[in-house]
């Protein structure tokens, strides 16, 4: 099996305004897959569909080879889920929440759970309802990792956590992945956070998957060019011109945002009588913004 998650033509509708259409996700096994998108783009809904918490109107879903939602409970033996909003029982203590989780998950490792609890400095006797946001984030990650999953589904796992807690949580996650080679599906609207750890990216916008590609091609593909004497009509460039704007200050200079750039393409500018003065790589966040902009323009 080469894909941890695979969907085809997934369709879902909630109310009149929100719809997920033609969703085809392919998450390679062993990847750390960043699921990006602005708030309200359908990330959480997609995750809930993948986990069988919502019923699709059409399409197929396979998670670790399990057909969803039919094989939901078999799948949850191998999949850990950290939801966007904490879902633990408030009346339990940390220790009791761990015991409850342990009772249901066949691969639970008590030793690892105990070690993580010490690393995260969580009191066994502390009530779940009294936990701070950071402690809750750590407890959720502890539960997810101690059940030794083959796939982790993390919905905004570090949203609202302070940098120290975020670091601890991500370190534990990466340590687990290094050890086991598990697949991680992690959604976030915090693009920077995913930049370091993900090797695959999927981008959602308004209920659609607008891109899905390895991180390095995502980062390499989109460039910002500074062009002197830019032609009024670009003609037929070898790359895709996503946007062109007036440059800052210097007259006759434009900034072009392009996709599919290769170093040999400088020849094109000589051909049209322009000078390419600079090629800038966009970081993930800028690339993400440009991608959304073109996806939206194309749909108009």
């Amino acid at each position: 099996m080469s894909h941890a998650i695979e969907t085809t033509d997934l369709h879902y509708r909630a109310g009149r305004s929100f719809e997920i259409r033609d969703l085809g996700l392919r998450v390679p096994a062993g990847a750390i897959y960043g699921f990006l998108g602005p708030n309200g783009s359908g990330k959480t809904t997609t995750i809930r569909l993948l986990l069988g918490l919502l019923r699709p109107l059409g399409g197929t879903i396979a998670v670790l080879g399990h057909a969803m939602p039919r094989e939901q409970h078999a799948m949850f033996r191998r999949v850990a889920y950290v939801p966007e909003r904490p879902h633990l029982y408030a009346s339990l203590t940390v220790g009791e929440a761990m015991a409850l989780h342990a009772a249901f998950h066949p691969r639970w490792e008590a030793g690892i759970a105990a070690e993580l609890r010490r690393t995260f400095e969580l009191e066994a006797g502390a009530r779940v309802e009294r936990l701070s946001k950071g402690e809750m984030g750590k407890l959720l990650m502890l539960l997810a990792l101690s059940q030794r999953p083959d796939l982790l589904m993390l919905d905004e796992p570090t949203d609202g956590l302070d940098p120290v807690v975020r670091r601890d949580v991500l370190m534990a996650l990466i340590d687990y992945v290094s050890e086991t080679g598990a697949t991680v599906f992690i959604s976030s609207h915090l693009v920077h956070e995913l930049e370091r750890i993900c090797d695959w990216v999927g981008v959602m916008d308004r209920g659609r998957l607008v891109a899905e590609l390895p991180m390095h091609s995502f980062k390499n593909g989109i460039k910002r060019l500074r062009v002197r004497n830019a032609p009024a009509q670009p003609g037929d460039p070898p790359f895709r011109l996503l946007a062109r704007e007036m440059g800052d200050g210097l007259a006759g200079t434009e900034v072009w945002v392009v996709r599919g750039w290769l170093p040999t393409m400088t020849q094109y500018f000589e051909g049209v009588g322009a000078t390419l003065s600079e090629v800038v790589d966009l970081d993930l966040e800028e690339g993400f913004v440009e991608l959304l902009r073109t996806a939206r323009a194309a749909r108009r």
Binding site: L51, L53, H73, A74, F76, H87, Y89, A103, F104
Partner: protein, 218 residues
């Protein structure tokens, strides 16, 4: 698995179960006391039994309260988290529902025991005239069954969504309202008799709740 679910559910139910258990102990004690069996001043057996019977109507009430309480305690923590935790456990749904249900049944036991002890204590302290017999065991057993029926009914409704609950209770209230309106309009159309009564009379499932509850009888 069961131990963990039981602990979770026990925490949500503990206070309510304790209060109902105290009430379950007190009801027979007070009933026998007030009917005059403890310090008999006269021997109007018929009147005394009527007193016992009227106090006995508290038992089904208590059973319904207990059933309601246990069912709500079984589901309210899950409702609060929109069932996400339970739905993402690696067990089939029916398995989880069964664990929850069983935990409630176990939590019902101490109250049944309290009712039984209350009956035994009350009748033990009483002077029972010739020809009358005491039924603490029967009352406790019937109380247990009644509470179980009430618990099962509310549990089933509470397991569903708010909409299911609204539909069930809406129908119930609707039937009674329609009947009231018909009565007001002077029409003799007995809606309740054909809809609700079959449930509460034998062999309807709620029969156990109704009728006479006699701790002391001939």
């Amino acid at each position: 698995m069961f131990a963990q679910v039981f602990r979770l559910q026990g925490r949500a139910s503990a206070l309510g179960v304790a209060l109902v258990a105290v009430a379950g102990f007190l009801v027979p004690v007070v009933a026998v006391q007030r009917a005059g069996f403890v310090n008999p001043t006269g021997w109007d057996i018929a009147e005394m039994l009527t007193m016992v019977e009227s106090a006995g109507s508290l038992f089904p009430l208590l059973a319904i309260v207990l059933g309601l309480l246990l069912a709500v305690a079984a589901w309210s923590p899950d409702h609060r988290g929109q069932h996400v935790y339970a739905l993402t456990l690696p067990v089939p749904r029916w398995h989880y529902v069964l664990l929850r249900f069983a935990a409630g049944v176990v939590l019902l036991m101490p109250v049944v025991a309290a009712v039984w002890i209350g009956g035994v204590v009350a009748t033990g302290a009483a002077t029972i005239p010739e020809g009358l017999r005491v039924y603490p065991g029967t009352i406790a057993l019937r109380f247990g069954l009644a509470a179980l029926v009430a618990y099962a009914a509310v549990f089933a409704v509470a397991a569903g969504t708010k909409r299911t609950a609204a539909i069930v209770f809406g129908t119930l209230v609707g039937v009674i309202l329609v009947q009231a309106l018909l009565e007001l309009a002077g029409l003799r159309l007995e809606v309740v008799r054909y809809t609700l009564v079959p449930l509460t009379d034998w062999p309807g499932p709620f029969e156990v709740l109704f009728g006479r509850w006699m701790l002391i009888n001939v």
